[in-house]
């Protein structure tokens, strides 16, 4: 409390000083301006009266001053009280940071008496870590700047006043604790927020991914739809959808091309308008719950039916259909293909093939002519010799009729043989259309070999027939298949001729029936075989390894075999020989016959 009184004294002194300064000028002025000895009575009287007036005035002023002094004193006491009892700690430092004055709050805060604080370096009360900070703060203040120090536990507010620094220090400990707690909470909150954010980000990414996927699917769906639409309309085949009572629901662009009706003319009409004997059956009345969303199912395989064009003409069609249902209503989609062009082509192809086969047969016969001439010459030579022998025997003295008859019979057989060869040759080159009949393939092979006998003989070829017994008959055009056989045999002969003269030349023809009900014929030789480069071209038209020949033989042979629903293939090991084989289906009808 002593310190408190000191402080009061200071304030009083200060006030008194000010009061003196206020009072003195008037007194001094009176004393210096007048010299009483030189003045008259009147004048003195006047002066006296003036003095009296002044005195009265002074007395009044004094009273006022007294009053003011009293008020000031009260005010001072109030200030002192306020200063000391203020919750804010006040410290006054000099420019060196030494404490000059402190209030009670400051003393409490610092933990020592007010008197002990005065003359102490303020830094002592600052945490070593913050000393630098506080020094800097004070230096800043010295440079006339207002500043708020970020001390750990106190908040200082200071102002420079002449050579004194006034510091207002707030106890912010609680505030700090609260702040720390808040910071801690904040941190936790931030942590939670972070986690939440991470979760959200992940969720978001997943969602974005899903959105992308969905967009992609949507695009795909759109694309697919567009594609399907495109296919739907670009398709050569007519696509017709009918509902469960057979009314047309939709048609694509091709339907107009095929039938001649526009879409408008067809929607709502019955399917029989297009397909008089419709293969499309109206969907059966299926219980509702079964029709919810059935996958499309094929109601029938592709089959040929007859369609009716707008102009009334009929046309061959191929039809396939599928049934599906949407929302309990069943529909059938039928796809129809106009096969009239194909039928026409098939017919042309067949005619063309027949013509080509004929031309190549003529060519083949030309190539075989000398061999066949020899085949005819043999029996003719025999006939001539037999008959000449008969004539000679008849000229003899005794005629042996039995002997003559035997010789003539032989001559007759030979003549018939020659005739048969001529007949077969003529059949072979005759213009004809395909005529199928039940044929024993083995007999056909024997006949074909007979046609080539001369060539085989002259080319020193040893031939062997390995024909299976009890082969089912095949339903074929014998001339066309004979042509195939002759082609293959002649190819083998030509191949074998390329072997060195003394090398053994072998040709073998085999037949057998495989479990898939095909009769297979193999023509096998031990010739030079077929090189890799020849392999690719050998079945194509106009490719020939021979100096003479059109290069049509194998190509036409394959076409002929295929026209019989068979297949012609080959195997070859270059240097070891080649095997050509073809299959002919055994017809069930042929079996039954």
């Amino acid at each position: 409390m002593r310190h408190h009184s000191n402080k009061d004294i200071d304030v009083q002194q200060e006030l008194a000083l000010q009061f003196d300064q206020f009072e003195s000028p008037s007194n001094h002025t009176v004393a210096t301006d007048t010299d009483i000895s030189q003045l008259s009575a009147q004048h003195i009287h006047e002066l006296l009266r003036e003095c009296q007036l002044n005195h009265t005035e002074l007395e009044r002023q004094y009273r006022e001053l007294e009053q003011a002094k009293q008020e000031l004193s009260v005010s001072h006491d109030d200030f002192a009280g306020l200063f000391n009892l203020s919750p804010v700690s006040y410290l006054s430092l000099n420019l060196h940071g030494v404490i000059q004055k402190a209030n009670l709050s400051a003393a409490t805060l610092m933990g020592c008496a007010v008197d002990d604080l005065v003359g102490v370096q303020f830094e002592q009360f600052v945490h070593p870590d913050d000393r630098e900070n506080s020094r800097f703060f004070i230096d800043q203040l010295s440079k006339d700047c207002a500043y708020t120090s970020p001390c750990m536990y106190v908040e200082c507010q200071g102002a420079i006043n002449k050579d004194q620094i006034c510091l207002a220090i707030h106890d912010v400990t609680e505030h700090k604790y609260a702040q720390e707690t808040a910071a801690c909470l904040n941190q936790k909150l931030a942590e939670m927020l972070r986690k939440q954010t991470v979760d959200l980000v992940v969720t978001n990414q997943t969602l974005i991914q899903k959105v992308v996927e969905l967009n992609h699917s949507q695009r795909q769906i759109l694309e697919r739809e567009e594609k399907l639409q495109c296919i739907f309309n670009a398709a050569m085949e007519g696509i017709i959808t009918i509902d469960n009572i057979g009314n047309i629901v939709s048609v694509n662009a091709a339907v107009k091309t095929i039938f001649g009706y526009t879409e408008q003319e067809l929607i709502g009409c019955h399917i029989t308008k297009l397909l008089p004997v419709s293969g499309i059956q109206s969907p059966k009345k299926t219980p509702h719950y079964l029709l919810q969303q059935q996958p499309a199912k094929f109601t029938a395989s592709v089959r040929e039916i007859e369609g009716l064009r707008k102009d009334g003409t009929k046309l061959p069609l191929e039809l396939s259909s599928a049934e599906f249902s949407i929302d309990g209503v069943s529909y059938i989609t039928g796809i129809v293909r106009d096969v009239s062009l194909r039928k026409l082509h098939e017919r042309y192809d067949k005619e063309h093939l027949e013509e080509l086969a004929h031309v190549t047969r003529l060519g083949l016969m030309g190539e075989m002519a000398s061999g066949i001439a020899h085949e005819v010459n043999q029996p003719l030579t025999a006939v001539a010799s037999y008959t000449q022998a008969c004539l000679n025997f008849i000229d003899a003295e005794t005629i042996d009729l039995q002997k003559l008859s035997d010789i003539l019979r032989k001559a007759n057989q030979q003549a018939i043989k020659a005739g048969q060869i001529i007949h077969r040759m003529r059949e072979f080159v005759k213009t004809r259309t395909m005529q199928r009949a039940n044929v024993d393939i083995n007999n056909l092979i024997i006949d074909s070999m007979a046609m080539c006998a001369a060539d085989l003989k002259y080319s020193n070829i040893i031939h062997r027939l390995e024909l299976a017994n009890n082969l089912p008959v095949v339903y074929i055009d014998d001339v066309q298949i004979e042509q195939v056989l002759l082609n293959l045999i002649r190819n083998s002969i030509d191949a074998l001729k390329n072997l060195p003269e003394k090398a053994p030349r072998q040709l073998c023809i085999q037949t057998h029936v495989d479990p898939a009900k095909f009769v297979e014929v193999r023509v096998k030789d031990n010739g030079p075989g077929i090189s890799q480069t020849e392999r690719e071209k050998i079945l194509t038209p106009f490719y020939s390894t021979k100096s003479s020949g059109m290069g049509m033989g194998l190509s036409i042979s394959r076409s002929l075999v295929e026209a019989h629903d068979g297949a012609l293939r080959f195997n070859s090991i270059p240097g070891k020989g080649a095997t050509f084989y073809f299959t002919l289906p055994v017809m069930r009808t042929a079996y039954a016959d």
Binding site: H374, N377, Q378, A382, A384, S385, A389, K457
Partner: protein, 221 residues
């Protein structure tokens, strides 16, 4: 129908039964002996070189063809006349056959009478050949009987030298040459020196005499 039958046997080789059978019958019907074979190999096994005959041969046969057989016969110095019969005449075949000495090449079908003529010709040819061969052997044998000097004299005469020239070349008198000539004629049973010369040239036995080269024009007079 020729009535005169040359002796000898017709060999027929053809792989075709009908041809073999009919031709055999026909040739038999003319009174000519015939033997038929299915293959060249069978023929080679059965062939008797002493037996005069001719060969009717099919050009193309499996394993050994007619041309192959001709080749084998040639290599074995078997000079049987061959008539090729072919149903498949090719110029190259016939040329080859003729080059190798075939007497004929007939295409099927043929006129049997023509064939018969050719067979007779061939048989006669074979008989002639055989006769000539016998005569040649005889001539060669008689030449072998000559002395060395006689051979020298004959060789010079064959080379168109007169007796005078022969005497001059051999360094003997003309008279001695005449004596040698007489001996030569006697030993070769020749009627004249001209006939002997013809025989020598015909049977081509000049080489048989070649002991000394005839004089060139420089050496002679």
């Amino acid at each position: 129908m020729p009535t005169k039958k040359p002796g000898g046997l017709v060999y027929l080789v053809d792989d075709d039964f009908a041809i073999r059978d009919s031709l055999s019958l026909f040739i038999e019907s003319t009174g000519q002996a015939v033997k038929s074979f299915e293959s060249a190999e069978q023929f080679l096994q059965a062939y008797d070189q002493e037996q005069p005959g001719c060969l009717l041969l099919d050009v193309r046969m499996p394993v050994m063809s007619g041309l192959d057989l001709q080749d084998v016969l040639l290599k074995n110095n078997i000079d049987i006349p061959i008539i090729f019969i072919s149903g498949h005449a090719e110029v190259s075949d016939s040329a080859k056959a003729f080059r190798a000495g075939a007497v004929d090449f007939i295409e099927k079908p043929f006129d049997n009478l023509v064939l018969l003529e050719r067979i007779e010709e061939a048989l006669n040819k074979d008989i002639d050949t055989r006769t000539e061969y016998a005569e040649k052997l005889k001539l060669m044998h008689s030449i072998d009987q000559l002395t060395l000097r006689e051979k020298e004299v004959l060789h010079l005469i064959v080379n168109n030298c007169s007796s005078k020239e022969v005497a001059s070349v051999l360094g003997i008198s003309s008279r001695t040459v005449e004596v040698h000539r007489a001996h030569i004629m006697e030993k070769t049973h020749s009627e004249s020196i001209t006939q002997l010369l013809i025989m020598i040239v015909r049977y081509d036995v000049v080489t048989h005499l070649a002991i000394r080269q005839p004089p060139t024009s420089d050496n002679g007079h």
